[in-house]
Structures are given as C-alpha cells and as structure tokens.
C-alpha cells in the first residue's frame, strides 16, 4: 500500500511538473473515482524496463488532447490542428511524464530505461496489466474540468 501511495504521489507530481513547465496548464487531483474518460480519446503509452518494468499510459478525451497539443505548440484556439499533430503532442506528454516520474523514483528503485512513446486514438482505451503486474493510477482535472487518466502497469524487480 505504501509503495502504491508513493508511486501515485510521484505520478501526480510528475503530471503537475510537466503540465506547468511544458504546457503552461495547471492541474488538480481528481478524487472522484467515478469519473472516467468517455467518447473519442487519445492514449499515449510508453514502456520501460530495468529496476522497474511495465508501461505508463496517458489518456484523455479528444477535445482535451487537442487543447493540450495546441498549448504545447503555442497555437491560437482559432487555428487548425491535425490529428497527427495531436498524436505527436500526446506522445511527447507521455514521454515527459515518464521522464519526470522516473527522475522521482529512480534513486530509490534503480536505473529505468524507457522506449519511445506510441499513441492510439479511439474509444474505451485502457491498459491491462500482464501476469504478476501491479497497477497504479491517478486522475487529474485541467482548469476547464477535462479529465486526464495516468496509469502505471508495473513490476518492481526485487
């Protein structure tokens, strides 16, 4: 339980850092467990191995992903953004999230190596833990109330 709490705190801190520094967006923790991402969504995922192995996922609905991508690219709301641009930005958010998370846990866990991110778009997108893996997740809200789910499927090498 302590390990999970610690990982969730690190996930939350990583999310806040990435959004404040790279996207200039403030986040607040969502404690309403019943909230879920619905409808068309984007999910970025990135695998990692080493002292801890598994996959991190970043999921939000299409409107939120669009807003994040436009923020990252410094675009005006009136400008057009393409789906590949949104996917690319979603992948970079996922990459930075894992980087920030890794920097927080690596000292106590040991070296973690990361892959390159991949992004899928669709409905009801969720990561599923493999055998012997654990799951940790946090939910956050953007200022406009959009929901973001950040999940961690992992196994810590003893």
């Amino acid at each position: 339980v302590n390990e999970q709490l610690c990982l969730e705190t690190s996930l939350l801190d990583a999310a806040k850092e990435v959004f404040e520094t790279a996207i200039f967006m403030e986040l607040s923790e969502c404690t309403d467990a019943s909230q879920v991402v619905t409808g068309d969504a984007f999910m970025g995922s990135i695998t990692f191995k080493g002292a801890m192995e598994g996959c991190m996922t970043f999921t939000c609905d299409a409107a939120c992903a669009r807003s994040i991508a436009m923020g990252m690219l410094g675009m005006d709301p009136s400008e057009e953004i393409t789906s590949p641009e949104i996917s690319d930005a979603t992948g970079e958010v996922t990459n930075m999230l894992l980087g920030s998370f890794k920097a927080r846990v690596q000292e106590s866990l040991g070296t973690i190596e990361v892959s390159v991110p991949s992004v899928v778009a669709g409905e009801r997108l969720h990561g599923r833990p493999g055998e012997g893996m654990q799951e940790s997740a946090v939910k956050v809200n953007t200022v406009d109330g959009s929901l973001i789910e950040i999940g961690l499927l992992y196994r810590i090498k003893k």
Partner: protein, 132 residues
C-alpha cells in the same frame, strides 16, 4: 526580465523525432532570451549527422531516444567521423536523467545536458556560456 542574448551569426540545429518537441524547444529558447541567426531541424541522428557533414552548426540540441539513429550514436559518430566539426557544441535534451547515462554521453563528446521537461532558464543557463 531576462537579458536577451543575440548570437551574431550563430547557428542552431534541433534534433528530435517529434515535430511538437522541436517546436516546443524553439519556443522555449525564444522565451529564454537567446536568439540564433540560423535554425534548422532534423528528425533523427542520421539526418542530423548528414547536415553536420554538409555544413557547420555552432550548437546542436539533440534528443536521445530516436528511431533510425539515437542521439548517443550521433554524438559518437560526429566526434569520430567529422573532425572538422570539433567546434560544434552538442547539448543533449532528453527525459533520460540517470547520472550514469549523462556521464557516458558527456564522455562521448556531448557538451551539456538538459532534462525534459525543461524551463527557459535551463536553456539560458546552458546556451549563454556557449554564445559568449
């Protein structure tokens, strides 16, 4: 207020497989108060190496995890295969933050390291000494 540093005639290449990240880096450099006369982009290490062989760049900002050729291999090959670019300063920009990796890439010829997510201050701190 940040002091602006205009790099007279200096050139920059940003190497990252993500177009979004290249644009974020460019924007963050502008926010840091540093300006380059010429800026180019490359999508991976191989493309960057080809551009460096074709012409000089003063500063290269390079990601590590990229398809085709990683930033680590690009730095190694730049330092061994293109001696005429010995003056090019290479700063790695990556989510990788282990001390072991940073020491390794510095030993292979990188001149600095910035971790993602980054701030304008991080770029100012690394770039300004290179431009003076």
């Amino acid at each position: 207020m940040r002091a602006e540093v205009k790099s007279m005639g200096k050139s920059l290449m940003i190497v990252d497989d993500s177009v979004t990240m290249r644009r974020i880096i460019m924007r963050t450099i502008r926010m840091s108060g540093v300006e380059f006369e010429k800026t180019e982009e490359a999508g991976n290490g191989a493309e960057a190496l080809a551009k460096l062989k074709a012409g000089p760049f003063d500063v290269v900002l390079c990601d590590i995890n990229m398809p085709e050729m990683t930033g680590l291999e690009m730095v190694k090959r730049l330092r061994t295969e293109v001696p005429e670019r010995a003056g090019t300063k290479v700063i790695m920009v990556s989510t990788e933050s282990s001390q072991e990796l940073i020491e390794g890439v510095m030993a292979d010829g990188a001149n600095g390291y910035i971790t993602k997510p980054f701030t304008p201050e991080a770029f100012a701190e690394k770039l300004k000494p290179l431009l003076n």
